[in-house]
């Protein structure tokens, strides 16, 4: 009976693993092998050993991309999670009216296609004809074309991503908040805890698993940033928004160096795994 129940459970999860194996694990393994070859896509790959990885070590643009990716992802994770948590706390509070409306409104950017969002933001950021410039002009503030200045372009991309995804993470945080017992919060208040202390000592510890999930998810998504630079800046100006995935795209699909691109993507994969592990251990340690 027990074995039969276990078999049913495995049978139910089998479709996922079958599809994952076929369309994900296979290509992942294949691209690992391709990372040791020189391959232009159609002609057969020729093995080159570790040469692609060695070349990466001396590739200045790869390190630029790596640096950009790390700091932009870090900034994105910090802002997106802080904003999402604040939003979730506001949506969960007793004084908030029209909660349903706000939940939908904040989630809406996530449903927009990336291209539509990019066109909107091109016009928001555009020099003196941009929405931002026009809004700030009456205050006497002049802003440059944000996407054309290497000092501002990365921030502009991060801001756009935060705008698109904060609502999504806020919904997850909200679900976590609603799972925290209201009696626990009430008890803390009765014991004389201020609202800030309730959040600090009751709500936030209770949200730790959800926070871990959101932080890891947003980190992975931040490290894989591609859509924004691809559509808005093509990695410029002057490589200031060149991310690792953008670098991989250029090497693979524009220069047809697919083996080299595979090697770069594996470095990114290792990086993502390492960062995720560090985050996991860090949050677990702090939870103790």
């Amino acid at each position: 009976m027990r074995a039969r129940r276990a078999a049913t459970a495995y049978l139910l999860i089998l479709p996922f693993f079958a599809v994952f194996g076929l369309f994900w694990a296979g290509p992942i393994a294949a691209s690992f092998l391709y990372s040791f070859t020189e391959w232009r896509g159609i002609t057969p790959p020729s093995p080159v050993g570790l040469r692609n990885y060695e070349n990466l070590l001396y590739d200045e643009r790869f390190f630029t991309a790596l640096g950009n990716t790390l700091w932009m992802a870090g900034l994105y994770v910090a802002i997106a999670n802080t904003a999402a948590l604040s939003l979730a706390l506001a949506l969960d509070s007793g004084w908030m009216r029209l909660r349903q409306f706000f939940r939908t409104a904040f989630f809406l950017p996530m449903t927009l296609s990336m291209v539509v969002a990019a066109v909107i933001f091109q016009l928001v950021y555009a020099g003196d004809i941009g929405l931002l410039a026009k809004l700030l002009a009456p205050l006497g503030i002049e802003i440059p074309a944000l996407l054309r200045d290497p000092a501002t372009a990365p921030y502009a991309l991060v801001a756009m991503r935060v705008w698109r995804t904060t609502g999504y993470y806020a919904i997850i945080y909200l679900a976590g908040l609603q799972a925290i017992s209201s009696e626990l919060r009430e008890a803390a208040r009765l014991d004389g805890a201020s609202e800030l202390n309730v959040i600090r000592h009751v709500v936030l510890p209770g949200l730790k698993p959800v926070a871990l999930f959101c932080i890891v998810l947003s980190t992975v998504s931040g490290l894989e940033m591609f859509d924004e630079p691809m559509v808005l800046t093509q990695g410029g100006p002057g490589d200031s928004t060149l991310t690792v995935v953008m670098f991989v795209y250029q090497q693979g699909f524009q220069f047809l160096q697919l083996g080299y691109a595979a090697a770069a993507s594996y470095v990114l994969t290792v990086l993502i795994v390492l960062v995720s592990l560090v985050q996991r251990f860090w949050l677990r340690e702090r939870g103790r």
């Binding site: 159609i42 091109q122 016009l123 555009a126 004809i129 074309a145 093509q234 002057g238 699909f253 047809l256």
Partner: protein, 420 residues
């Protein structure tokens, strides 16, 4: 049921089934092919398709309008994976040399070689790999300058403006800081290089020799780079904004640009983005570099038709590509419906090319293309690498991180490292 009535019923059923199958069989004889192209080319193809269908009732073409960059990448991916390629695809001419060495394109020598006399020597070289053709000539574009006649008239400027020096002087008169009006627009980044190409080719500059080696100590190229920089930073007559971006279109719509440098297909963009200014826009040849120099201009885009090897309808695909490439009416139709300048010499001589365009109220061919010699770069296989490297230098130059001469020197050094 009696035996006789059963047989009669069965016979009637068989006849009925056969009749029902007849159209299906006729339909099965129709070969359906897919054609990937973009915006004005899709519109041009739709316009000339009925004539093709009349001549080839057995071939149905599905014309798909995709993003141009997306097509280049998707065809590569399709060629690599072996699935999903179109039967006929349109490639940006500067990207084309990357494709034949991959082995993913069908050789089309038997279709193209017999009509070599009908297109330019440049294309004879560009479309070949190992002395065999892998692409059909389609359209080529030359750099032209559209301008607002009303803005010029307001400042007493008479067009056409012959040289770049005169253009700069006229630009200083047109530039209006109060009304935020610029003479024309210049692009940063890799897009900026696509625009700069028209300037450099017009000046007779080559980045690579015919063997694909970098031209060293390229003083003329550095001078053109300096000129491009001066338009924005020294003379302050040009708005720095990415070509064909929403911001650029808004600048056109709001009347902030007195001119538009572009290929001849730019008229298609103007018709969409500046509809309200119909009749105000005119066109002239791209200015030349000196009054006593040759009336030479550079290219501004150009595309090639290709047939991926994995197409299962090679014969039908070749017929469609050959039709778009060589049929005079089709080539003229592409000009009339998307302003792609024909590669076919016979089509170039067609009287319909000299007809005026309603939006301009003048013949674009006569006003901007006639009598101009078109110079062009020698391409190398990984052209996007060249574009990206040049884009980085253009950005650094406009950001004030380096002088134009230094930006050129750094670009040249990077090209020497890559191509020798």
């Amino acid at each position: 049921m009696k035996r006789r009535s059963f047989l009669a019923g069965a016979a009637a059923g068989t006849v009925g089934l056969a009749a029902a199958r007849a159209p299906a069989i006729a339909q099965a004889r129709t070969t359906k092919i897919t054609y990937w192209c973009w915006s004005e080319h899709a519109r041009g193809a739709q316009a000339v398709y009925p004539r093709f269908r009349e001549r080839n009732p057995d071939i149905e073409v599905e014309i798909l309008n995709l993003n141009p960059q997306e097509i280049q990448d998707k065809i590569l991916v399709a060629m690599a994976t072996g699935v999903g390629a179109p039967d006929v695809g349109l490639l940006i001419e500067s990207r084309f040399p990357t494709y034949p060495p991959t082995g993913g394109l069908s050789e089309v020598t038997e279709h193209v070689a017999p009509r070599e006399a009908d297109f330019s020597p440049r294309l004879r070289t560009r479309l070949k790999h190992n002395n065999r053709y892998f692409g059909f000539p389609y359209i080529q574009n030359a750099a032209v300058m559209f301008y607002r006649q009303d803005y010029f008239a307001e400042k007493g400027i008479t067009a056409p403006i012959d040289t770049w020096a005169q253009w700069v002087e006229a630009g200083k008169r047109v530039r209006d800081r109060q009304r935020n009006i610029y003479m024309h627009q210049v692009s940063p980044g890799a897009v900026g290089f696509a625009n700069l190409t028209g300037y450099m080719e017009g000046a007779g500059v080559q980045l690579f020799d015919e063997a694909g080696k970098t031209v060293r100590q390229n003083r003329r190229a550095a001078e053109v780079m300096r000129f491009y920089f001066d338009l924005v930073r020294t003379h302050e007559i040009s708005l720095l904004v990415t070509h064909n971006s929403p911001e650029h279109f808004v600048a056109i719509r709001e009347g902030r640009l007195a001119a538009l440098h572009s290929g001849n297909w730019g008229l298609d963009r103007l018709e969409t983005e500046a509809r309200a200014d119909r009749g105000k826009w005119k066109v002239q040849p791209f200015p030349r570099w000196s009054a006593d120099g040759p009336p030479a201009v550079g290219t501004w885009g150009g595309s090639v038709l290709v047939i991926p090897r994995q197409s299962r309808n090679q014969a039908a695909a070749a017929k469609w590509a050959q039709y778009l490439s060589s049929d005079v009416d089709a080539q003229v139709g592409l000009w009339q419906n998307g302003y792609g300048y024909p590669t076919s010499v016979r089509a170039q001589a067609d009287a319909r090319l000299r007809e005026p365009q309603g939006f301009l109220g003048q013949s674009m061919y006569e006003a901007s293309l006639q009598g101009r010699e078109v110079n062009y770069f020698n391409l190398v296989a990984d052209w996007p690498r060249v574009q990206i490297e040049m884009g980085r230098q253009i950005d650094a130059m406009f950001q004030g991180q380096k002088a134009p001469e230094q930006a050129w020197a750094d670009f040249e050094a990077a090209m020497v490292r890559q191509y020798g």
